[in-house]
């Protein structure tokens, strides 16, 4: 598998603000890579560096082994971009804007263009000014996906789209993946990333704090176990990696670190297991683990609601 995007120690500063602070991001060719983080974490800055619109102050970025600043034009023939906040030309129609962006990249597939316009229910005859936010977003999505680009860079592409269009978007991305294209999907819609992404990188304060497959990341985090045993289970609190243990009338509930799951379940088996439910951590919980302390700090001056 070749590498589509690789950055090492990327730094970008604006005055005293470090928008990117040693960012290491790797995206393999052919995967859909979820790029997660809250507003202001540095997602858009990263993407604009990858597009050669910004020059990093430190570190290296490579796309297909080339420098995105020096070889911007060469690389852009293989890339398509959807910004998070699409601005269109007021006196050009949506259809004209799609053609324009497509042709400037080196052409687009008319059949695919027609198909996408129909699937997204876009009216291409309207002038740029008259589109709603969602419709402007659709124009950029159609322009990007109607191209033959191998690498799609999508910066919160579905902000402003309704749930029906979200479904269409997910279909279209799956199709793009099936065609072998690579997708960098920046988002803060967790369900979208869970549904689409093969691998996920979580960015915080301009750094990648965690990166890997969803399954792998779940392994690194806690699974919640609810169980009923015929005999009262004892000794669980002595096992490693057990948290938030609650026991009442044979009902047991606890969270366990991924690596200690096996030991814990084997231990429960010794007490006559009647029922067992496990909840893998959701992406939401993964995010909360990385950002939970911020929430706690902001939640009414540390009354300890979140721990």
């Amino acid at each position: 598998m070749t590498t589509a995007i690789a950055t090492t120690g990327l730094v970008k500063t604006y005055g005293s603000i470090r928008a990117l602070d040693g960012l290491d991001l790797t995206v393999e060719a052919g995967e859909v890579h979820g790029f997660l983080g809250p507003n202001g974490a540095g997602k858009s800055t990263t993407i604009r560096v990858l597009l050669g619109l910004l020059r990093p102050d430190g570190g290296r970025a490579e796309i297909y082994g080339r420098d995105p600043w020096d070889d911007a034009v060469k690389l852009h023939r293989r890339m398509a971009y959807v910004p998070g906040d699409v601005e269109l030309w007021p006196n050009l129609t949506g259809g004209e804007a799609i053609d324009l962006l497509g042709r400037l990249r080196g052409g687009l597939d008319p059949a695919r263009r027609a198909d996408l316009i129909e699937r997204f229910a876009l009216d291409p005859t309207r002038k740029g000014r008259t589109y709603s936010k969602g419709n402007r977003q659709k124009v950029a999505i159609v322009a990007a996906l109607a191209s033959d680009a191998e690498l799609l860079v999508l910066d919160e592409p579905t902000s402003g789209l309704d749930p029906l269009m979200e479904v269409v978007f997910q279909d279209v991305i799956r199709q793009a993946k099936a065609e072998g294209r690579t997708v960098l999907l920046s988002s803060h819609i967790l369900a979208q990333v869970e549904a689409l992404a093969d691998r996920v990188s979580i960015i915080r304060h301009g750094r990648i704090v965690q990166s890997g497959t969803l399954a792998g990341m779940r392994h690194l985090t806690r699974t919640t176990i609810e169980a009923e045993t015929s005999r009262p289970a004892t000794g669980l609190d002595l096992l490693p990696g057990i948290h938030d243990l609650e026991v009442s009338d044979g009902q047991i509930r606890f969270a366990v670190d991924g690596e200690h799951l096996g030991v814990a379940v084997r231990h429960l088996g010794e007490f006559g297991l009647r029922s067992l439910t496990s909840h893998p951590p959701t992406l939401e919980e993964l995010m909360l683990r990385h950002y939970g302390d911020e929430l706690a700090a902001s939640a009414s001056g540390g009354t300890g609601v979140l721990t």
């Binding site: 604009r48 852009h76 971009y81 129609t93 259809g95 799609i98 324009l100 962006l101 322009a143």
Partner: protein, 550 residues
């Protein structure tokens, strides 16, 4: 607080409630507008005041001798005079009568422009950007933003009237007539604030609203000029134009205030129409619905050059039409203005110093003047480039296979070729005007060459703007200073006996003033090299800097 408000509303009559509610929040919005205009509005007001001071100073030199006054009499009478005004006071010309009677037109137009932009920016532009939605979701009445914009515009025009009056007084002219002139200018401002209150309801786009009000201004000028051409001191036709009312106050001749009642009446009617139209439409919508356009781009629209041309097309076209029309007028009136009978030594000097070639001298000066004006289009063009970048439309384009060089280079190419085409068309039109007034056909060719000879100078202005855009994009506005200075040197350089180095600072003064002199080809070549050098520097710097978004 909510409870007390509801209680109060319930106790008042329904009519009072709806009126009060429609204007809720006006005070806050006025403060908000003033906060946003804290640089722009003072710049307009002080700029206009400084312009008046400049005119007063320059013209006291031009009205010093009887010979010069005889000369100015010619400018204030006949068809030429009608361009500027009905010509009150031309029988006994003084500096203040000349400034008010001829240069008054500049102040009318600029006050109208200030008011049009102010009202459109705080009403339609806000709706267009969607910011108005956020404002109106607060405790803000339906008519509050229009009212706030109009109140600020009215205040600005009152302030302008007082500033102009005190400038005239400070230069030793009568204070009450000064106030009358100031009020006449302010009244024009009020009328066009009202007219913009209407156009801003009709269209969904702020620029179109200003354009429509500007068209009204153009028609008002044409009606007044035609009316004043029919009869000295104005015919009934003149009185149909709001610009005539401002002239008919006759400051410094036998001042009278009552024509301004007409201005106030029209302003009031326009504002009332604006309110009633505004009440009939939804937020963000216009009275004219937007039409659908082409579902796909035209086949030729595939290179960055074609795209930039498509985006700049209408601006290029309108500038060319406007300047070519001015050229036709300039040429057509040439014989009359360059008539040596009664012309002062000073003016002969301005027109090149030779009595035998006054027409050529006059045409040469106007060619220079109109070329500098075309520089405005170039600076606005580069500000549009900056707009593309800052508003985020450049991002997706530069994320395609278009290099920075190709993108900015396309703009520079389209603007350069556009201005050369514009100068060619204006030159031909000026020549045609001259020929129509009875001169030799060779003027068409001569004037075309004369205008083209100035192209390198105006391209240096584009070069300066391009260089600033690449190196320090926030400072593009500095180019305006260069345009203002070039205009000043072209019009007053000779009159004010500026030293050579001060003349040479203007990029427009190095290629001679054809058709009087031949074009200096060495000067042309050097200016062209400087222009290209500046543009390349701008391109190279742009390739090296980050793209800036809001």
């Amino acid at each position: 607080m909510n409870a007390t408000m509801m209680g109060r509303e319930a106790s008042s009559s329904p009519a009072a409630r709806s009126r009060g509610a429609a204007l809720d929040g006006t005070g806050t919005l006025i403060r908000f507008i003033l906060r946003r205009e804290r640089v722009g509005l003072p710049a307009w007001l002080l700029g206009l005041t400084a312009l008046l001071a400049l005119f007063l100073r320059a013209l006291s030199e031009l009205t010093a001798t009887e010979e010069q006054r005889q000369d100015l009499y010619r400018i204030m009478s006949g068809s030429v005079g009608a361009i500027f005004g009905p010509g009150y006071g031309r029988d006994d010309i003084t500096a203040e009568r000349y400034v008010v009677g001829v240069y008054g037109l500049f102040f009318f137009v600029l006050a109208a422009l200030m008011s049009m932009l102010l009202v459109a920016r705080h009403t339609r532009a806000e709706e267009q950007s969607g910011r108005a939605e956020l404002i109106r979701s607060g405790v803000v009445g339906r008519h509050a933003s229009l009212t706030a914009a109009l109140i600020v515009a009215a205040g600005a025009n009152v302030l302008l009237a007082l500033l102009l009056a005190s400038t005239l007084t400070a230069y030793g002219h009568d204070g009450s007539d000064g106030l009358l002139f100031g009020a006449s200018v302010g009244a024009i401002g009020l009328v066009f604030a009202g007219i913009t209150a209407i156009t801003a309801q009709i269209t969904e786009y702020s620029r179109t609203a200003v354009g429509m009000a500007g068209a009204v201004l153009g028609v008002a000028w044409a009606v007044r000029a035609a009316g004043d051409m029919i009869r000295d001191y104005g015919s009934p036709l003149s009185w149909l134009s709001p610009l005539a009312w401002a002239n008919q106050t006759r400051p410094y001749v036998d001042g009278r205030w009552w024509p301004l009642l007409l201005s106030l009446g029209l302003a009031a009617v326009a504002v009332a129409v604006g309110y009633s139209l505004s009440a009939r439409r939804d937020l963000g919508a216009g009275l004219v619905a937007a039409r659908p356009g082409a579902p796909a781009a035209a086949p030729w629209l595939r290179s960055p050059l074609a795209v930039v041309f498509r985006l700049q097309r209408s601006s290029l076209m309108w500038w060319t039409v406007a300047l070519a029309a001015s050229g036709l007028l300039v040429g057509g009136l040439g014989d009359q203005i360059a008539d040596p009978v009664g012309m002062s030594e000073r003016r002969i000097e301005i027109f090149g110093g030779s009595v035998d070639a006054l027409l050529d001298g006059y045409l040469g000066m106007m060619a220079l003047f109109l070329t500098v004006i075309s520089g405005i289009m170039l600076v606005l063009g580069l500000q549009a480039v900056r707009g593309e970048e800052v508003e985020g439309r450049a991002d997706p384009v530069l994320a395609t296979a278009i290099s920075r060089w190709a993108w900015l280079g396309s703009y520079l190419t389209v603007l350069s070729l556009g201005v050369v085409g514009l100068l060619l068309a204006t030159g031909v039109a000026t020549g045609l005007g001259t020929v129509l007034a009875g001169e030799d056909v060779s003027y068409v060719w001569d004037m075309a060459l004369a205008f083209l000879g100035h192209a390198p100078g105006v391209l240096v202005i584009l070069g300066v703007a391009a260089m600033l855009y690449g190196v320090f994009p926030r400072a593009i506005g500095v180019t305006w200073v260069l345009i203002g200075y070039s205009l000043f040197v072209a019009l007053f350089g000779t009159v004010m006996d500026l030293p050579g180095w001060a003349m040479n600072l203007s990029p427009m003064e190095h290629t001679g003033r054809p058709p009087l002199d031949g074009t200096s080809w060495s000067g042309t070549a050097i200016l062209l090299a400087i222009a290209v050098g500046l543009m390349v520097a701008g391109l190279a710097a742009f390739r090296r800097r980050d793209l800036e978004t809001r």
